[in-house]
């Protein structure tokens, strides 16, 4: 994909920034294209809305900020409320369905609901919800290649947790592939 913008959001402590780093690394290191990651967060490192923005392109990226995200991921209500309107009209929104009650989807847009935190909890490791979400993203979006994302996960998580994280990634990926179709616009 030539140019795409992804915004990952949630609350501090969910590993949102790490998820953004993984996406950016997948694109720039493992696909050898270009990506910029910028982040918005308050002074707190726990709680509060936080957001990782990845711009990716085959070309040199002049403007590193997000203009209109093609993909918007929300893992908290606060973050969802703050950012949902910015998404591109035909863009894709993904929410953690246990944590976010969505609003109406823009006409032409897509909304996907999935239980990242619940799935991670099922593994007994709630903190890998971010990686579950990335697996899901790989399954439902063609912005980043699955192999590159996997490589990026492996090289970004703490040593010794690679297997656990790959399991989490696969869980999210399988969930995404099993999903029948996106909720059509205007139905929420």
């Amino acid at each position: 994909m030539a140019h795409a913008e992804i915004r990952l959001s949630g609350f501090g402590g969910q590993g949102i920034i790490l998820a953004g780093q993984i996406v950016g690394k997948a694109v720039s290191v493992f696909e050898d294209r270009n990506a910029t990651l910028t982040q918005n967060y308050g002074p707190e490192s726990r709680g509060g809305a936080c957001c990782a923005q990845v711009v990716m392109s085959d070309e040199e990226i002049a403007y590193p900020d997000i203009v209109e995200p093609d993909v918007f991921v929300a893992m908290s209500q606060e973050a969802y409320n703050k950012y949902y309107e910015d998404v591109k009209p035909n863009g894709l929104s993904i929410i953690d369905e246990d944590l976010v009650v969505p609003k109406a989807v823009k006409s032409g847009g897509r909304l996907l609901k999935m239980p990242a935190t619940r799935l991670a909890d099922g593994m007994g490791k709630k903190f890998v919800a971010n990686i579950v979400m990335l697996g899901f993203l790989a399954a439902v979006s063609d912005t980043v290649s699955t192999d590159a994302l996997k490589e990026a996960v492996k090289s970004s998580v703490p040593k010794g947790t690679e297997e656990l994280n790959m399991k989490a990634f696969q869980l999210g990926y399988d969930h995404g592939k099993r999903l029948p179709a996106a909720t059509p616009a205007g139905k929420e």
């Binding site: 950016g24 720039s28 290191v29 990651l37 910028t38 002049a62 403007y63 900020d65």
Partner: protein, 386 residues
């Protein structure tokens, strides 16, 4: 020490701050003395992790005054040394930045600029320290200040900052900004030897014949370090070539003129900038750091509207590339200077353009980068007045 082992050659996805630290390591930095401050803390954190593992020293000092002093001390102890900070800490470092200038001590000082004055917006971007970089310490002197626009450039320019500091013997400033510091992007670290790394300019003269502040033809004196038997004296007072204090206007004239001239005379070697379709442009945008990058979007928008818009990106803010800009000024219809302050580098631009074309500042008090449309409007406006 085998420097090769410590260089992480290859492709990475690094923050500007991390890239800056890795640039230091590539250049041979083995001492970091600093104090945590947003948004420069990640430079220190990277160094705290990396330096001890490769035979270097990391120390968190009690404040930024002490940090700057420790970095100078370490340089005289024989190590390449650096520190990093942001606005409030930069103010505190100015005192001994001056000592570094006066004692011709090679080292690197990184300022990841945030919005001020005072505590300001600790986590958000500013470009308000550009004049402080030039004039922030008291007295008469010249500086070198480099402005990276990307994490890759944060790496490369930190290497260059070390090289310039060793070549011209002075503390060199890397004037980053919060967005470049915190932005993550592909950073390619070259193999050892691929980038030039300038070693310390060591004296080969025997101790009894050595004059620590006797310059070579390029006005820079070779250096020794403590412990080599040279019994050097190094002072912040005005001094002669022996390093001894001489409190006269003649000694002041000789020393301070040389300290300035070693930069002025060698400016061609130091100066660095980037031009994109700058000659004969309808409008020339002059910018630096993250703002130069942000400006590319409005520049492209204006080009789509049929205007010829060029970019002149400052890489060395100080010394300022005045000859080139003076020349360009005669060929362009107007100049737009966006910066995240209420006008600093624009004064230099105005000085060089000298009335040959209208110069428009696009100011911003800080906290974010410019809205592209604000720069675009200024471009269109200046073009209209042509």
């Amino acid at each position: 020490m085998k420097a090769e082992k410590s260089i992480l050659s290859g492709k990475h996805f690094f923050q500007g701050d991390t890239a800056c630290a890795e640039g230091g390591i590539y250049a041979g930095c083995r001492f970091f003395g600093g104090y945590p401050i947003t948004p420069a803390t990640e430079v220190a954190e990277r160094m705290a992790e990396r330096l001890p593992a490769i035979g270097g020293i990391y120390i968190q000092m009690e404040d930024e005054i002490a940090s700057m002093c420790a970095v100078l001390g370490a340089a005289w102890g024989g190590r390449k040394s650096m520190t990093s900070t942001s606005g409030p800490g930069f103010s505190l470092m100015m005192e001994n930045f001056g000592l570094g200038i006066m004692t011709e001590t090679p080292c690197v000082l990184v300022n990841v600029q945030r919005a001020g004055p005072s505590t300001g917006l600790p986590t958000a971007v500013g470009q308000g320290d550009m004049m402080q970089a030039r004039w922030g310490s008291h007295g008469v002197y010249e500086v070198i200040a480099l402005c990276p626009s990307s994490p890759q450039e944060a790496f490369n320019l930190t290497v260059r900052a070390f090289n310039l500091s060793e070549k011209y013997r002075l503390p060199v400033l890397v004037m980053m900004d919060e967005v470049v510091g915190h932005m993550t992007e592909k950073v390619v670290i070259p193999e050892p030897g691929e980038l030039e790394v300038v070693p310390r300019r060591e004296s080969r003269v025997a101790p009894d014949a050595y004059l620590p502040f006797k310059p070579d033809a390029d006005l820079v004196p070779p250096m020794v370090r403590a412990g080599q038997g040279y019994h050097i004296h190094v002072t912040g007072l005005t001094h002669d070539e022996r390093g001894y204090p001489v409190i006269t206007k003649e000694a002041q004239e000789k020393l301070v003129r040389r300290l300035c001239d070693k930069i002025r005379v060698n400016r061609k070697d130091i100066l660095s900038w980037e031009e994109r379709e700058a000659e004969n442009a309808d409008v020339l945008v002059v910018a630096y750091g993250i703002t130069a990058r942000i400006a590319m979007l409005p520049i492209q928008m204006a080009r789509k509207k049929g205007l010829k818009v060029g970019l002149f990106r400052l890489i060395t803010a100080w010394p300022f590339p005045e000859e080139r800009l003076r020349k360009l000024a005669g060929t362009v219809g107007g100049v737009v200077v966006p910066e995240i302050n209420y006008g600093q580098m624009v004064f230099e631009v105005e000085r060089c353009v000298a009335g040959k074309a209208p110069v428009r500042l696009v100011s911003h008090m800080g906290g974010s980068t410019h809205r592209p449309e604000d720069i675009l409007n200024a471009i269109m406006d200046v073009a209209k007045n042509k």
